[in-house]
């Protein structure tokens, strides 16, 4: 075998020196990894699309589900998640600036931009934690099961609960006592247990109290599960909505309402919706978190001057590839989970 090439012209031989892709081993392997990771995320998003297409109208709509801002409450559709997207795009920009500084062997520049990237990453992870908290806790109204067996999500402004005035004493509270703390929690707990009546609530210690609550505003029921009368997609507004909602809430039956989300049920739509939300955004959030950790490790290397001595900052470029990939995935999650 070895002798066969002896007679060949040197220029036609590859010779094993030049790599066909003209890229270093590390960068090539990073691309391989990213392609395989992209396949994983595509698989998740396609399975999401599959479930969504066979559920059709029952599936929740992004702007109805995600419409809250920290400190400001409801009524701001998609603003928060847009802010998260913006944070991630900006941190991707600072990363590419760090890579560019690395190409000029500008150590100070690399350090500066990498720190900015890491801060952006922490902001994103923090925002996602807030969103999860909000998603798990849910809205004040919850999802209600109406008298005909249909289920509807509830939109509108929830009238604030001012206090509970005890009318029949229990183990902790005396008659006439005015309770002003932990109202929402008690209210929702009683609603789940079927212990909420038109004017009274049975608290966890057995005392009965009168509920002083302001009137709700602009209530709207959107049916998400077929019943005997109401079909998916039906919208009921105003007084009629309030009548139906409270008839169920005060019915004295258990579990007429669902607040927030867990892996068994959620107030937004079909059961799989919350599972996909937790899995896809959780898996992405885990990628962001590990990206931040890798960035910190590389930043320490930069500060110690390892790459300056090596003569190139390709490690920054490689961790940058991973970081941009995380941003890339979010662009798709943003579209298919929140917008479409």
């Amino acid at each position: 075998m070895a002798g066969q090439s002896a007679g060949l012209d040197k220029s036609t031989l590859w010779g094993g020196k030049e790599s066909p892709f003209q890229t270093s081993y590390g960068k090539l392997m990073m691309w391989f990894f990213l392609v395989s990771d992209a396949l994983t995320f595509s698989g998740l998003l396609v399975s999401y699309g599959f479930t969504r297409h066979d559920a059709q109208e029952a599936w929740p709509i992004g702007e109805e589900t995600f419409n809250s801002l920290p400190f400001l409450g409801h009524g701001y559709p998609l603003i928060y998640v847009a802010l998260m997207t913006f944070i991630l795009i900006v941190s991707s920009v600072t990363m590419v600036l760090a890579v560019e500084a690395g190409h000029r062997m500008d150590k100070k520049g690399v350090v500066k931009w990498m720190i900015a990237t890491i801060i952006g990453g922490f902001f994103f992870v923090g925002s996602q934690a807030w969103e999860w908290y909000h998603f798990i806790h849910g809205s004040e109204f919850g999802k209600i099961e109406l008298a005909d067996g249909s289920q509807a999500i509830v939109k509108g402004h929830f009238g604030e609960i001012e206090n509970f005035t005890v009318i029949s004493p229990g183990r902790h509270h005396k008659k006439g006592e005015v309770i002003k703390t932990d109202l929402m929690h008690e209210y929702q707990h009683a609603a789940l247990e079927g212990k909420l009546k038109k004017d009274s609530i049975t608290l966890h210690d057995g005392s009965v109290a009168r509920v002083n609550k302001k009137a709700d505003d602009h209530m709207e029921l959107i049916v998400k599960k077929n019943g005997k009368k109401n079909k998916i997609g039906t919208k009921i507004q105003g007084k009629r909505a309030e009548e139906l909602y409270y008839a169920s809430l005060y019915s004295g039956k258990k579990d007429q309402v669902i607040y927030g989300a867990n892996l068994e049920q959620n107030e937004y739509g079909p059961q799989q919706y919350a599972q996909f939300f937790f899995f896809i955004t959780g898996f992405h959030g885990f990628h962001v978190f590990s990206g931040v950790v890798i960035n910190i490790i590389i930043l320490i290397g930069v500060m110690m001057g390892i790459y300056q001595k090596r003569g190139h900052y390709e490690m920054v470029e490689k961790t940058g590839l991973y970081w941009h990939f995380v941003d890339l995935v979010w662009v798709f999650v943003f579209t298919f989970f929140y917008l479409v």
Partner: protein, 122 residues
Amino acid sequence: MERDDIIEYSLHGHHDEDTGKKIRKKIWFVTILLTVITIAEVAMGAYIKQSSSIWPLIKWSFIVLTLFKAGYIVMIFMHLGDEKKALRNFILIPYFLFILYLIFIALWEALAINDALQQNVI
């Protein structure tokens, strides 16, 4: 021992201050572009309801804009546009072939299942 048979590809990315300036300009341009697209998407999502008659158009424009954003991220930020053409094709073509096929069969099947559910076949 120094080896002269290894090409240090890691050094290929190096450039001088002037080239750096041009690259940075391009980066900021892409930043503004991505931000504007995101704002436009959110505005469309917030103000146009899914029940509206132009929703299918909006939905497809979301998908097109997303692919547009993704293209800029991959080609500019991840520098895939600056790599060898062979590497670029080698990464993108098999991926797209596989994923387009996966999307097609998954969504087609989902619609069939929905049809069957509507008609109480299963």
